[in-house]
């Protein structure tokens, strides 16, 4: 189909050809390198946090250092890894290919968004390292932030700038899906990954400006003492929380929706079956995007919000469970009577199903008013959102990277190594975070560097924390192993065929092993759905073992 010696990777050479590229595939790779580096940084910080908590008493970090380390861990992981990663890496690389477009609608804006992201990222990390340590937590609640050192201005400015990167990415994808689809690529033939990125784009465009203006107001609060959020000046700290969560709760769906899209594609491909309830999965993404805007108040059940608003926010929170449940049951139904092929990406898809369901259901639990009063600010909440953000979003990302790796690099990775790493990640993750559900229900508060004072009443805190720390090391080993075999595959891995998984969507069926610079020789004419596996093998190519 395409001349193998000529592809997007070798079409132009040199560092500048990358830094000045407007090719959506290359920008995706640049996001992958950047997000990978920040994931490593955030992971190292997490290891510090867990090591400090491994045994009672002060071990490697003092009280203030501990606060600073978990703050940077949160900021890096949320704003520099989980929010940008899937749209930035896989959305950029895959979405135009999946709809048969030559590029996104605004390629230069796409490159600009990468530079904005990098500018924000460098400001955040350098501000923290060289200007002064910030210990407000990733939420920058006032009055912590209005009373903190001026270094907090670097982080909030970074969030503002990186926010625009997110807006431009989302805007680009919405326009691309509306205007750039190949002939015959109707809305009900869009792959579910594209549907999910589209729904994510809506949330990015509608929610991110609000965190932007919140960060501007916080900036002015510190610079001019404008008295909007700072209680010492007559401002209202709960107003800050409303503003903050009006973005940051929808942001949870910026993180999880694209991962859900990846899982939908993986379920179809590796069950070799039409994805059950295609329309319902597609529209439930849009429903989640919409409902996600109506639930921010559930972060403020104990912050002095009126009882009536709390009741309404609690009820709306339960509603999110409906579209989410629709997805989970349809994924399970997709596997039913399919020919499930357990390769590494599918193992991550199953892992997602298991971990995300735990994360989602515990979310319903903390959405219950009375229960939340007990669990608020405990390790139960920490465990819950790590199950959603890591067990959901990042496991989805890792599964997606394994799935599209051959298309991005033209190489296969070692399947045995992939399976072993996946098992390590699964065991390590559950050991780290499932123990924290127990800690939380017993009342261990989050953001404490030392828990020795609780040991008289709850001696089991010591062993649970130790188990959690050991789990985090196993998780770390699994993740490092992925990095090692990925790098090995990049240089020594066997060459991939154009469609090693026998998948059905355009990026596999209509491009070479590594796509051309302009994706397609001729614009594809789409005559079938994205998961029409009931058609003969020879239409899509048989799956080939590496």
């Amino acid at each position: 189909m395409s001349d193998e010696s000529h592809n997007y990777l070798n079409a132009r050479k040199g560092l500048w050809s990358w830094l000045s590229t407007t090719d959506h595939k290359r920008i995706g790779i640049m996001y992958a390198i950047a997000c990978g580096a920040f994931f490593l940084l955030g992971g190292i910080l997490a290891t510090f946090v867990r090591t400090e908590l491994g045994e009672p008493g002060e071990t490697i970090l003092g009280q203030d250092q501990y606060n600073q380390v978990f703050t940077l861990h949160g900021v890096v992981m949320v704003f520099l890894v989980i929010i940008p990663a899937i749209p930035g890496i896989l959305g950029n690389f895959v979405l135009p290919l999946q709809i048969g477009a030559k590029d996104v609608a605004f390629p230069r804006l796409n490159l600009a968004s990468w530079y904005l992201f990098m500018a924000g990222a460098i400001m955040a990390v350098c501000g923290w390292l060289f200007v002064g340590k910030v210990d407000t937590g990733w939420t920058f609640y006032t009055p912590y932030s209005s009373g903190a050192s001026n270094a907090v201005l670097w982080l909030t400015s970074a969030v503002f700038i990186a926010g625009f990167a997110s807006i431009f990415t989302g805007l680009n994808f919405i326009v691309t899906v509306h205007k750039m689809r190949a002939p015959g690529m109707t809305w009900n033939r869009l792959p579910l990954f594209t549907w999910a990125i589209y729904a994510t784009g809506i949330v990015q465009v509608l929610a991110t400006p609000v965190i932007g203006i919140t960060m501007v107001l916080l900036f002015l609060e510190k610079l001019l003492q404008i008295g909007i959020f700072d209680p010492a000046l007559g401002g209202d700290p709960v107003l800050f929380q409303h503003f903050f969560w009006f973005y940051s709760h929808p942001a949870v769906y910026i993180m999880i929706l694209p991962a859900m899209g990846i899982i939908s594609d993986l379920m179809g491909t590796f069950s070799r079956q039409h994805v059950s309830g295609y329309t319902f999965i597609a529209l439930s993404s849009v429903a989640i995007a919409f409902l996600g805007f109506l639930v921010w108040g559930h972060h403020m059940f104990v912050a002095g919000q009126s009882a009536l608003s709390s009741i309404i926010f609690s009820m709306l929170t339960f509603l999110i469970g409906i579209p989410t449940g629709i997805k989970v049951f349809n994924w399970v139904a997709t596997m039913y009577k399919g020919s499930v092929w357990l390769r590494t990406p599918m193992i991550y898809a199953l892992m997602f199903l298991f971990l995300f369901t735990i994360g989602g259901l515990t979310g319903i639990m903390v959405g219950v008013l009375a229960v939340d009063v007990h669990l608020h600010d405990t390790y139960f909440v920490v465990a819950h959102f790590h199950y959603v953000m890591m067990g959901g979003a990042l496991i989805g990302l890792i599964g997606g990277l394994h799935y599209w790796w051959p298309k991005m690099t033209g190489r296969m990775y070692n399947e045995t190594a992939g399976v072993i790493a996946a098992i390590l990640v699964f065991i390590g993750f559950n050991l780290t975070f499932f123990t924290q559900f127990f800690l939380g229900t017993k009342g261990m508060p989050r953001r404490y560097h030392d828990y020795s004072e609780f040991l008289e009443i709850y001696p089991e805190f010591a062993v649970l924390n130790l188990a959690s720390t050991i789990g985090s090391y196993i998780l770390g080993v699994g993740l490092v192993m992925i990095l090692v075999y990925a790098l090995y595959s990049l240089f020594r891995g066997p060459k991939a065929t154009a469609n090693p998984w026998g998948a059905c969507t355009l990026e596999w069926t209509h491009t070479g092993p590594i796509p051309d610079e302009h994706n397609f020789h001729d614009t594809p004419l789409v005559t079938r759905g994205p998961y029409d596996y009931h058609l003969a093998d020879d239409v899509f190519g048989k799956k080939t073992e590496s």
């Binding site: 390629p107 805007l171 509306h178 919140t214 002015l220 001019l224 008295g227 302009h518």
Partner: protein, 220 residues
């Protein structure tokens, strides 16, 4: 499509597709602008509903005549920019240049009026937030009588909202200057005038936001 046609990007099939994509993108960007200002409008609504009597009293310090003048100036500029899009569609570029310069002049008048309003306030100690120490007598109003609780919040909101709006006006002035030179150099035709149309959309939004700011801050 001739190879000399440099206005059609290679990844689009037709001018129509390219124009529609650009316009949809601009509308989405305007949505983000509305949400950016929405945060400040919410802050206004919250503090107004908590302290209505303070807002009522302190807003007397703003001169509604200057606000009304700026409203008229901005409405006029919206009219000239709409006409410039009409004429660029008909290919009458001479008129487009004149109309864009008129728009630019209106925007400049707006900023000059804003400058006098701001400096008048600053000279009497009316600053946003903690620097708020009103003094002196203007138009028979003793400013020191307005030093009451939550008056600083009103002026914080006033300066932040009109300040960020003013930044948008400055950006618009830059865009109009850039557009004028491009029109004069003959870059646009009835087949390709996307930047004029998109800047027009942006300018109407800047206008609409002022239409809300003026009554909320000056009149009620």
């Amino acid at each position: 499509m001739s190879s000399a046609d440099t206005t059609l990007k290679h990844y689009f099939v037709s001018h129509e597709q390219q124009f529609d994509a650009a316009k949809l993108g601009m509308w989405l960007f305007l949505v983000t602008e509305i949400l950016l200002f929405a945060g400040m409008f919410v802050a206004y609504a919250v503090y107004r509903s908590w302290h209505p009597e303070v807002f009522l009293q302190v807003s007397e310090l703003l001169d509604w005549r200057l606000g009304a003048l700026n409203t008229v100036v901005l409405l006029a500029s919206s009219f000239t920019v709409a006409l410039s899009i009409h004429f660029v569609q008909k290919g009458e570029n001479d008129k487009v240049v004149v109309l864009l310069i008129m728009t630019l002049v209106c925007a400049a008048i707006f900023m000059v009026v804003k400058y006098f309003e701001y400096s008048g306030k600053f000279s009497h100690g009316v600053f946003p937030g903690a620097g708020f120490e009103p003094h002196g007598i203007v138009d028979g109003k003793d400013y020191s009588k307005y030093d009451i609780p939550f008056a600083p919040q009103f002026f914080s909101i006033y300066f932040v909202m009109t300040g960020i709006h003013g930044v948008h006006v400055l950006v618009g002035m830059g865009l109009f200057g850039w557009l004028t030179t491009r029109v004069a150099r003959g870059h646009f035709s009835p087949q390709y005038y996307t930047p004029v149309e998109l800047t027009g959309l942006y300018w109407h939004l800047v206008d609409i936001i002022w239409i809300f700011l003026f009554p909320l801050l000056y009149l009620i």
